[in-house]
């Protein structure tokens, strides 16, 4: 015996073009919806990951330092401002602070790097604290320095590539003519670390003849009040605080605004698709009034007719939803690339994160909204009077 589902399926096949167009509408809406929800989730976690990968959320540096860092890059390392290394001790005792790492940034002018010369940037880092701030670092070759005074260097991926260095090779610090042995080459991180040469802090201090530092990187405890810590740090003499939390919040606000707009468009697209569903099912009901009347004369109850028409809606929405979600999965990378082109700042990693849970949630939304849209045509079909409909024909 033929089931209600089979009847509904065959009914939909009667008008193939109309059914196909409705399916395409639902499919596109599902695709947009699941991609947007995936982006909503992916972007935030990618941004959080990027911020966490920086290792520290706050940086303390001498007042005016960022501007002078730019000057340093342009003019060859003159006029940098420094802070006392003892400041690290006064920061690390604060309850909000998880970890602290002192950094010395130095730039040396290399007259033989291109025609007008160029700058070679070095980061003096503390062997005991810096690696723990960068747990995502992976070594392509070798590892960290052997001790805090070692005349050794770890090179970022691009720095090593430019200098054609491998572990065991030597590099020469321009201006100072000090040789350092390369002990580690990092994998590409997609951050500024790729172009950096890391040297033990004390070694770089010795080479530069400076016992101070330029920056203190601070990792804040997860539940700590970052704003409070920031305010407290501003009380330290002659320093300024750069907070990645602020940067993150600003980016998230921008993205949230864009997200609301795009989500509105997705909801409108969904509504248009559902109007298409109502139209298709209603047309199908109106074309089959006589047939429904005959079914009723044969004993079909209004509930049976309602279920039959509703099943058609269910088939349309479910098939369109599954197809749209499938497309979203298949083209997730393409969506990722397009989103990256559009956004002013795109963090690394997966931006459009679609998983099974999200797919099922979207499918449920599509089916529920679809079934709600199908209530009116199904109700109308259920109310058909058999004799009138047969006579009407």
């Amino acid at each position: 015996m033929i089931s209600g589902f089979q009847i509904a399926y065959k009914n939909l096949l009667r008008k193939k073009s109309r059914t196909l167009l409705t399916l395409v509408g639902i499919m596109l809406s599902s695709w947009v919806l699941v991609s947007l929800l995936g982006f909503n989730r992916g972007y935030e976690s990618a941004l959080n990951r990027d911020i966490d990968n920086m290792g520290y959320q706050l940086m303390v540096m001498a007042k005016g330092c960022p501007y002078e860092a730019a000057t340093m890059m342009l003019q060859g390392g003159t006029g940098l401002r420094y802070i006392e290394q003892s400041m690290v001790d006064s920061i690390v005792i604060r309850p909000e602070v998880d970890k602290v790492t002192p950094i010395l940034m130095q730039a040396f002018f290399d007259p033989d790097k291109g025609d007008g010369g160029g700058i070679a940037g070095y980061f003096g880092v503390d062997l005991t604290t810096f690696p723990t701030m960068k747990p995502f670092f992976r070594f392509r070759q070798g590892g960290w320095f052997h001790d805090e005074q070692a005349t050794e260097a770890v090179m970022g991926f691009e720095a090593a590539e430019l200098e054609q260095r491998e572990v065991g090779d030597m590099i020469l610090v321009p201006e100072k003519n000090v040789q350092l042995k390369v002990v580690g080459i990092l994998e590409r991180t997609g951050t500024q670390d790729d172009g950096t040469i890391f040297v033990p802090l004390k070694t770089l201090q010795r080479i530069s003849g400076i016992d101070k530092i330029t920056t203190i990187g601070i990792k804040v405890k997860k539940d700590a009040d970052s704003a409070k810590l920031e305010a407290a740090l501003y009380q330290l003499p002659d320093v300024q605080v750069v907070s990645f939390t602020q940067v993150k919040q600003t980016i998230m606000k921008l993205v949230a605004t864009a997200r609301v707009m795009v989500l509105s468009i997705a909801i409108i697209a969904l509504l248009i698709a559902m109007v298409g569903v109502v139209n298709t099912i209603l047309m199908s009901v109106l074309e089959r009034l006589q047939e429904i009347g005959i079914l009723k004369t044969m004993g079909a109850m209004p509930g049976d007719i309602f279920r039959l028409v509703w099943t058609e809606t269910l088939i349309l929405c479910f098939s369109g939803g599954v197809a749209g979600i499938g497309l979203a999965f298949v083209f997730a990378r393409l969506s990722d690339i397009l989103v990256r082109r559009v956004l002013p700042y795109a963090p690394g990693g997966e931006l459009v994160a679609i998983d099974l849970k999200l797919a099922l949630l979207t499918l449920a939304v599509i089916v529920v909204v679809g079934l709600l849209s199908g209530i009116y045509p199904a109700w109308k079909a259920g109310r058909v009077r058999p004799l009138e409909s047969i006579r009407g024909e």
Binding site: D112, K113, R140, E161, Q164, E166, M170, R333, I337
Partner: protein, 213 residues
């Protein structure tokens, strides 16, 4: 049948698109820092240039790599001297007439990467030799135009007998003087880079123009 053909085309296009979208972490090439300025300096009579790219893996794969190594008399080594390095070739024009080529290679030096460029006329003779970047205490001497002028007029055939591993040379190449004897490693590296440079441009450009590999 039509459906199957369409499916095949769709799948191929799909795979090609996504293969092209894979982030390229290929080996690094060697470009002029400021081509507009450098081309005019190396070819004062030029009015324009075109840029093209070539890589051993795309032009001939392993057999070409073996041939280049054989001609170089040295193997490609290290993690940066690989078969997929993209080489930038600058074709130089005077009006519509092609007047020469500029081509550069990266070479491992004692303390850093050396970028060696060579400007060639249409017969493959060296017009200019230029070290764009070198990290060494004695880099100034090796980057001095006086050192570069020793190579003017030489061609690949003059370097055929040069052995980069031992530094042994004959003929005109043997007469080239190292202005910084303390930087013998970098001097030899520069010569190896130059020979490799000439071989590559011969394989990529002149052999193709002669119509045989």
């Amino acid at each position: 049948m039509k459906g199957k053909a369409f499916l095949k085309i769709f799948l191929t296009a799909f795979l090609l698109f996504f293969a092209a979208a894979v982030p390229a972490f290929a080996a690094v090439g060697c470009d002029l820092n400021d081509p507009d300025r450098d081309v005019v300096r190396l070819f004062p009579d030029s009015t324009g240039y075109k840029t093209s790219y070539a890589a051993i893996d795309k032009r001939g794969g392993e057999p070409l790599l073996r041939r280049v190594e054989q001609r170089l008399r040295d193997r490609f080594h290290g993690i940066y001297e690989t078969i997929d390095v993209p080489y930038t070739i600058y074709e130089i024009y005077n009006g519509k007439r092609k007047v020469g080529y500029i081509h550069g290679v990266n070479q491992k030096g004692q303390f850093g990467g050396i970028q060696v460029f060579v400007a060639l006329d249409m017969e493959g003779r060296i017009k200019s030799f230029y070290i764009q970047k070198m990290t060494s205490q004695w880099a100034k001497k090796l980057r001095d135009p006086k050192f570069g002028r020793q190579f003017t007029g030489l061609a690949l055939k003059d370097f055929e007998a040069y052995d980069p591993a031992t530094g042994k040379a004959s003929g005109k190449v043997a007469e080239i003087r190292n202005p910084a004897p303390e930087a013998e490693i970098d001097f030899r590296a520069a010569l190896r880079a130059l020979k490799k440079n000439l071989i590559l441009i011969d394989e990529f450009v002149f052999s193709a123009e002669r119509g045989k590999p």
